[in-house]
């Protein structure tokens, strides 16, 4: 059993999901998502009426967000975050998959590492941020390191579990078919572990983004995290709420895309 429970396509085994969706069903799904968003917006509006000093309402926020998208300051910060995030994601993904494959293939190392990885996943890494700052200084490298610290562990854990749980009969099949090692890897092993790895990458994506944004919220002068914390400090509620909205939008859209990719691979 994986240490990280995740929403995934396998959750629907036995449901109606196995059949290809008819047009009516996809229409219904679209409608359901729309209704959920409407409910969330209504809650937002209610919260806004309850505490107008702390956030702006939905309509005003969307307007501000559109304004922000046209402003140079926003793009400067977004670009700073984007660069840090892109680098962290690249390092978490490649590093995580590589380490995960190695630990998965070498059973003994995997058994030694598994509880340590779980422990690393669950410690509050934010308390270690000062250490990261002392090692890497105040620039982009500290943010990247912090993002990687958050993102790499779930990728390692999911990849390792995927390799450890490969059905042994697949490997025997490869031997019976006399596949070369590279063919075995390319035609059997990678397709077998791919869905799990994509789940790991999706979780890694989320946590890397979280790590980078937290990093920017503390001791930084650049990035969306800085815009948020600055918005809090100087009480710029309009820009604060709009940045958060854009961030949530980005996260949910990317999450949905990765989730859809994952579901397709699990078919």
């Amino acid at each position: 059993m994986s240490v990280i429970p995740e929403t995934s396509g396998s959750a629907y085994v036995g449901g109606h999901d196995s059949a290809p969706a008819t047009q009516r069903q996809s229409l219904q799904r679209l409608l359901d998502s729309f209704l959920l968003i409407v409910v969330l917006v209504v809650i937002w509006q209610l919260v806004y009426w309850k505490s107008e000093v702390a956030i702006t309402g939905p309509i005003e926020t969307v307007k501000t967000a559109i304004e922000l998208l046209g402003s140079e300051t926003f793009w400067r910060h977004a670009l700073a975050s984007g660069r840090a995030f892109g680098l962290s994601l690249l390092m978490s993904s490649i590093g995580g998959v590589a380490v995960g494959l190695a630990l998965g293939a070498h059973r003994f190392s995997g058994a030694v590492a598994a509880p340590i990885l779980t422990a690393l996943y669950t410690i509050p890494k934010v308390t270690l941020y000062p250490l990261v700052l002392l090692i890497f200084g105040l620039g982009i490298s500290a943010k990247v390191a912090f993002g990687v610290m958050h993102g790499i562990i779930p990728v390692v854990i999911f990849t390792m579990d995927a390799v450890r749980n490969i059905n042994p009969v697949l490997i025997k099949t490869a031997r019976v078919l006399k596949l070369s090692p590279s063919e075995t890897a390319y035609r059997i092993l990678i397709p077998a572990v791919m869905p799990e790895i994509v789940t790991g990458l999706r979780v890694g994506f989320s946590l890397t983004l979280l790590g980078v944004i937290i990093g920017e919220m503390f001791a930084s002068q650049q990035g969306l995290g800085f815009m948020i914390i600055n918005g809090m400090n100087v009480h710029n509620v309009r820009s604060l709420t709009a940045v958060v909205l854009l961030l949530v939008f980005f996260a949910v859209v990317s999450g949905s895309v990765l989730l859809a990719l994952e579901r397709r691979l699990q078919r």
Partner: protein, 250 residues
Amino acid sequence: MNQVTLVRLCVIAGSVLAVEALCRFGVINRLTLLPPSEMAAYLVHLLVSGEINQAIVQTFSNVAIAFVLSVVFGFVLGAVIHAMPRLRRACDPFLASYYSVPIFVFYPLFVSLFGLNRWPLIMIGFLFAITAMVIATLNGLDRVPPVLVKFARVHRMSRSAEILRVVLPAAGPYLFTGVKLALAYSFIGVLAGEFILSGGGLGYAIAYAYDAFDNRTMYALMLFVLIVVTAINSALFIWEQRLLRRRGKV
């Protein structure tokens, strides 16, 4: 003790000793990192002197409240979502990307909603932890074998007896994973909230020590947090392994 555990302990002890040696021989600058032995010694001093007692009590009580709330509400919410497949499908993208939203940004909102007291921080821990519990509940309920539900009907169980005696125990291992993660995330949420935003608790004490260049206090507190969280998680992990072994799942 088996070989794997032994090697694991050696790896951990070796890493600590290596850091110790690097610090002692000056490879790592004292301004960057203190030798672990000094951290531990100063931590003992802090604990004995009672200076950090108040911060400890504050942080841990907040974590406890956030944890209990997230487990209870996470389970209920998970059960509700599980009962409505259409709602569930609509929620999926949000559940899948939930952790990239830094919940801390809602701190000012919570302050304005709940006042400047412990509740805004508890809410951050709570919101951070609840998703893990919701997802674990969904997973657990998905995996209750249909034959056990039929078994409950053959025994003419009421709905509540069925849930209490069949569904919950069958989903148990998954719910336990959720409880474990809810605790971890409650810690992460509360400590990060204190670290970035609030004026009290262990997280704040670490940030304050960092700003004041007080590395001894900072590292002693970090060590304390890591030891406590790891100890609690390991205890839960061992307990979980025992439960799973009984079910032949290890």
